[in-house]
């Protein structure tokens, strides 16, 4: 089963993602800060990471550089409340940038696209 890791400090939003993506047939884990995401990626790497940018402590962009420094094969989606981080060139190294919305269609289709592209190699 394809495994997705959600890193978002907003617990209720993370729960929504967990439910919705589980319904889509993924195996979903959730962490609420960047540090835990980095730890989990080492001990138990998922197939895709959905990363929030604004989190207390280490933010998603800082986490992204740590993560890609260790494993540049991991597909990462940056999922954030506003689009102005798109100007930060560090965000270009993520596979996709999805602005948070109550409609998860874009997030779901982006996840499916990335996984399909990776599968085709």
């Amino acid at each position: 089963m394809t495994r997705i890791l959600i890193a978002d400090d907003d617990k209720n939003l993370a729960l929504l993602y967990e439910q919705e993506l589980t319904d889509e047939g993924y195996e979903v884990s959730v962490v609420n800060d960047a540090r835990s995401a980095i730890d989990l990626l080492e001990s138990d790497p998922p197939d895709l990471l959905d990363l929030d940018i604004q989190m207390p402590g280490m933010d998603g962009i800082e986490a992204l550089s740590h993560i890609l420094g260790k494993n540049n094969q991991l597909p990462v989606i940056l999922n954030t409340a506003y689009s102005n981080y798109k100007d930060n060139f560090m965000t270009w190294s993520a596979d996709a940038y999805v602005v948070k919305s109550s409609d998860l269609t874009e997030l779901k289709s982006t996840i499916a696209d990335i996984l399909q592209r990776r599968a085709q190699g």
Partner: protein
């Protein structure tokens, strides 16, 4: 020129001729003496300096105007930057709960499983409360009411707020050390507002401090100073604040907390300043934070 005499004296400033004074004896008819020429030369020296000064003054005026203009532009740019930061933070504070509310509503519409509906409804309710709190804080930030002063005992107020925080249960496992000072006189405060300030800072301290840590509250009367005041220090042994975050501590909508509005300390600062006081923060990462409030003790007459 006929029988008239005339004399020409140059106007010289810093070895440069900037003009000339011509004088004749048309009206007096008397010959122009050496003394008169000397007098005119002295006058020309002063006149040249005065002209030069007038020119310089004009230049300075222009520079001042330019500087004022540049400063206005800078202030405007700063204001725009603050508005930009504020809208980014508001966007973040609103978009997360909206995405959660809408997302769960869509989810239960598609799959109205009773258990899911129950848990989704609870989350939607909580997120709406979060938005309502954000709105309330934003409104009270933009419209802080004027303090309504009444004589108050600060030690009692601190004790009451501590009890409020304890009843909440969030501070279980944290060691409270309250050091009231017996010599603090009764003085003029807006009790409700000052409670809000203390509640805010105590809650921040609790949220930053993990179980086993401690929160110390010291109240001290500084009566021997020119302006008698009271100092309250709230020290926690919590996670501390990063240096780059410390600079922004009193900036509207700045928060390091998931459920923070970034307005608590802004409102607290406003209230303390409305009381003629000051609030400062000191912090070391992973060692703790100290918030220090100084409130002047003034008679009612002085305040009004």
């Amino acid at each position: 020129m006929g029988t008239h005499h005339f004399v020409a004296v140059p106007l010289i400033v810093r070895e440069k001729t900037i003009g000339i004074i011509l004088a004749d004896n048309l009206y007096s008819g008397a010959p122009i003496t050496e003394d008169s020429v000397d007098l005119l030369t002295t006058f020309a020296g002063s006149a040249a300096l005065a002209l030069e000064n007038a020119g310089l003054y004009h230049e300075v005026q222009e520079k001042v105007t330019q500087l004022e203009h540049t400063q206005e532009e800078l202030v405007q740019a700063e204001r725009l930057a603050v508005i930009g930061q504020m809208s980014a933070r508001i966007a973040h504070e609103i978009r997360n709960p909206l995405a959660t509310i809408g997302g769960f509503a869509r989810s239960i519409q598609r799959n109205p499983d009773p258990d899911r509906v129950q848990s989704a409804a609870a989350i939607i309710r909580d997120e709406v409360i979060r938005l309502e709190n954000l709105l309330r804080d934003t409104l009270s930030f933009t419209r802080p009411p004027k303090p309504v002063l009444a004589p108050a005992h600060l030690n009692t107020l601190i004790q009451e707020v501590k009890t409020m925080v304890e009843e909440d249960g969030a501070s279980d496992g944290i060691d409270w050390n309250i050091h009231p000072s017996p010599d603090i006189p009764e003085f003029q405060l807006d009790i409700a507002q000052m409670k809000e300030v203390c509640l805010n800072i105590f809650q921040n301290a609790v949220q930053a401090t993990s179980s086993g840590g401690s929160i110390e509250v010291l109240a001290e009367y500084l009566g021997d100073q020119e302006e008698p005041s009271v100092q309250i220090e709230i020290r926690d042994t919590g996670e501390g604040i990063r240096e780059k975050d410390l600079e922004q501590l009193f900036t509207p909508f700045f928060t390091t907390k998931t459920y923070g509005t970034g307005l608590g300390l802004v409102i607290s600062k406003q209230i303390v300043e409305d009381h003629g006081g000051k609030i400062v923060a000191e912090s070391r990462e992973s060692e703790g934070t100290t918030i220090r409030i100084t409130l002047p003790i003034r008679s009612k007459a002085e305040r009004s």
